[in-house]
């Protein structure tokens, strides 16, 4: 887990292999949707532990539904995973609220956030990101630091640094696209080396 989700066509053949218990297909299913669930649940789960539990439970329930023949439309697989995760998250939150009279809505501390992001942070990815950050102007690098590390309100520092919401989106878009290009180049280079 931690790599970019490997794109694949979710067609009838994929669903058949999943239903048949094909190991490679199951591994791909868990890696692909496990990563998307990690990203989606980062804002919904109250803790790293809850995120892991909801993710695991969602994948199990979906696989079970596939094997019981409850999913017939391959194109609906992704949406089914998403819907199931919402329901599982609701169940886990309700269970937690039931046994915590004060409510479990304490804000997530900074170290918990790093824990949730742990699977996405790797030395090889950091090298790429470090180079991309080095290519930015001081102003743009500072903007990203204010946004990503200091967690400052966009409106507040936007006024201070003279940056519009559109500028922020474009900055993030360009950084993301450079990052994607590098990841694609590395993947191709690695595929070329193994041939």
């Amino acid at each position: 887990m931690g790599d970019a989700p490997e794109s694949v066509r979710f067609d009838a053949a994929y669903l058949d292999r999943l239903r048949a218990g094909d190991q490679e297909t199951q591994r791909h299913f868990c890696d692909y949707f496990g990563m998307l669930l990690q990203i989606k649940l980062a804002n919904g789960a109250r803790s790293w532990q809850m995120l892991q539990d909801v993710r695991q439970e969602t994948l199990l329930r979906v696989l079970q539904a596939v094997q019981e023949g409850k999913i017939n439309q391959p194109a609906g697989l992704g949406a089914f995973v998403w819907t199931t995760s919402n329901y599982v998250l609701w169940q886990f939150r309700r269970a937690e609220d039931r046994y915590q009279p004060g409510g479990g809505g304490t804000p997530e501390p900074a170290d918990e956030r790093m824990e949730i992001e742990r699977e996405l942070i790797r030395a090889d990815l950091q090298r790429e990101v470090h180079e991309i950050l080095g290519e930015l102007s001081d102003k743009d690098r500072n903007i990203l630091r204010q946004l990503l590390l200091e967690g400052r309100n966009k409106q507040e520092f936007g006024d201070e640094l003279g940056v519009t919401p559109e500028y922020l989106r474009v900055l993030l878009h360009r950084a993301k696209e450079r990052f994607r290009s590098r990841l694609t180049r590395r993947k191709r280079a690695a595929a070329g080396e193994t041939k």
């Binding site: 970019a4 989700p5 794109s7 694949v8 979710f10 692909y32 949707f33 990563m35 998307l36 990203i39 989606k40 980062a42 804002n43 194109a75 609906g76 697989l77 992704g78 949406a79 995973v81 998403w82 819907t83 039931r98 046994y99 915590q100 009279p101 004060g102 479990g104 304490t106 790093m114 992001e117 996405l120 942070i121 790797r122 990815l125 950091q126 790429e128 990101v129 470090h130 991309i132 950050l133 990203l144 630091r145 946004l147 990503l148 590390l149 966009k154 919401p165 922020l168 989106r169 474009v170 993030l172 878009h173 950084a175 993301k176 696209e177 990052f179 994607r180 990841l183």
Partner: protein
């Protein structure tokens, strides 16, 4: 939301920045769960942000540890003098405070002692159990009856305070099924607060089933 709409509306970046209203966020999530292209874009944006955050954090921490310009062993170096003073303080603290404190603690733990204990029962919300302990007590004891038929290779126990702090509690299976499960928790790690103890059965080293949650109020004087 379809792919064209996602591209036109800069959905990935707005999702990343938290600019979407809840309905739009749900629609976009449902879309990228089915669209490999958008899924890859969301992954890239999230992984970039996570790694950039880590890099910025490392740089911030490193900046706080900026080395002195002079050679550190130069006696005229105020940093060296400060470091020497800190070392003296640390050694003094260890010698005169912490080590005697540890010795006292070892002496306390080596002697027979009494401690406050409570037999926990599953309670509905609003129905509280209370335990009062002294700060001079080394431990509090909690006893939990296992549900009938709870035959597991091991157990996992977690103590959570009302403020969200979580303590993992080591647990040993009782000698016989009809005996309660007993846990001792050092009072050093506790404060006056409301707590919930949750117990799981364990199979193959993983928690497999929640056996119960037990709430109580602890007062330490």
């Amino acid at each position: 939301m379809d792919h064209e709409e996602a591209l036109k509306s800069q959905a990935v970046e707005r999702y990343q920045l938290g600019e979407m209203p809840p309905e739009e966020r749900d629609a976009f999530e449902q879309h990228y769960f089915s669209c490999p292209e958008c899924a890859a874009a969301v992954y890239a944006a999230t992984a970039f942000a996570a790694n950039a955050r880590s890099i910025f954090l490392n740089a911030k921490e490193a900046a706080g540890r900026t080395p002195a310009r002079r050679r550190w062993w130069d006696w005229r170096n105020p940093v060296f003098a400060f470091a020497a003073a800190v070392l003296l303080l640390v050694v003094s603290f260890e010698e005169f405070v912490r080590i005697p404190g540890l010795k006292g603690r070892i002496a306390l733990l080596s002697a027979p002692q009494a401690f406050a204990s409570l037999a926990l029962r599953p309670v509905a919300r609003g129905d509280d159990q209370a335990l009062t302990a002294s700060r001079t007590d080394a431990f509090i004891g909690l006893a939990v009856d296992l549900p009938p038929g709870a035959a597991y290779g091991g157990f996992v126990c977690e103590l959570r305070s009302a403020s969200g702090a979580v303590l993992s509690v080591p647990v040993r299976a009782p000698a016989a099924p009809e005996e309660p499960l007993n846990v001792l928790i050092p009072t050093d790690s506790l404060k006056s607060n409301h707590y919930t103890l949750t117990l799981w059965g364990q199979d193959s080293g993983r928690p497999s089933a929640e056996l119960g949650s037990f709430s109580f109020t602890l007062k330490i004087h």
